[in-house]
Symmetry: C2
Subunit: 137 residues, 2 copies
DNA sequence: AAAATAATTGCAACAAAGTTGCAATTATGG
DNA sequence: CCATAATTGCAACTTTGTTGCAATTATTTT
């Protein structure tokens, strides 16, 4: 159920080398990954552009979500919740460690609700916590 | 008190054209600005590098804070609270409108506290709400 | 007020992140 | 296994941001 192939099947995506490989990487990683991290792992196997396009496909299908970071390099992480095409509902907090730089999904830490001023309508909320992770103290 | 010159004085920054001009732009803007927005306004008056360096100086002094966004273009906004060199404490929510694209500081909407899992230590928290702003409904 | 010093700017060059068009390749359904 | 549709790789480009260095400008000293 959580292997690359079934994820592709479930989302009606064709079974290609790059998609399988990149999904495997996510499945085996604890942390969110930047495009560059993926490239380092896959090496010369896939073109940069292919990696970008694969990630975009995964986002569109709700397989992966992005995390806005201060360093302007988008991080991608698997959606553990049931996100579907066009509709993400990852409502967990993201943690970025200042020491090791790793970005982690705190899957069980939900984003608290906020009351916005009149007239503001939220469609998606991100909460990014910077600090020091358990491994780095 | 809220004119460009006093802000520079208060922060022991020398009074230069670019600093004054860029501060004026922030003082007159309701929204957070990307580097590119500033360049469009200042035109050829200042070099790109000068704008970047000026913004960095303002961040260091606690005059301006950055907002992580999904589109990988850092937004900058005036600190309304008393941020000082090296220590920002902007704890308000940021709103990004999906229609007009504007990024707004909801200065009076404070970020609610979250309880992190054991071992995680927060130093800074960002909350970015995407949705539709009052002007765009 | 002018000279000396220190800070700031502009230029050129570079690096990283991401995008687009198009031809070649690969996957899939019949 | 063939046809069609989807995916990939390549080349070129854009945007965002950085660095070193010489020239300029602001501030301090006298």
């Amino acid at each position: 159920m959580t292997d690359a192939l079934s994820i592709l099947k479930k989302n009606h995506l064709s079974n290609t080398d790059s998609r399988r490989a990149i999904l495997e990487i996510f499945l085996q990683s604890e942390n969110a990954l930047a495009h560059n991290d993926i490239e380092k792992i896959t090496g010369e196997r896939f073109d940069r552009v292919t990696v970008y396009r694969t990630l975009q496909t995964f986002i569109d299908k709700g397989i992966v979500h992005t995390i806005p970071t201060a360093d302007n390099a988008t991080r991608y992480a698997l959606c553990r919740e049931n996100c579907t095409g066009g509709h993400h509902h990852d409502d967990h907090v993201h943690f970025i460690c200042e020491v090791c730089g790793r970005t982690t999904c705190l899957d069980h830490t939900h984003i608290p609700s906020v009351k916005l001023p009149k007239g503001y309508d939220a469609t998606q909320i991100n909460m990014i916590v910077n600090g020091i992770c358990p491994d780095c103290r």
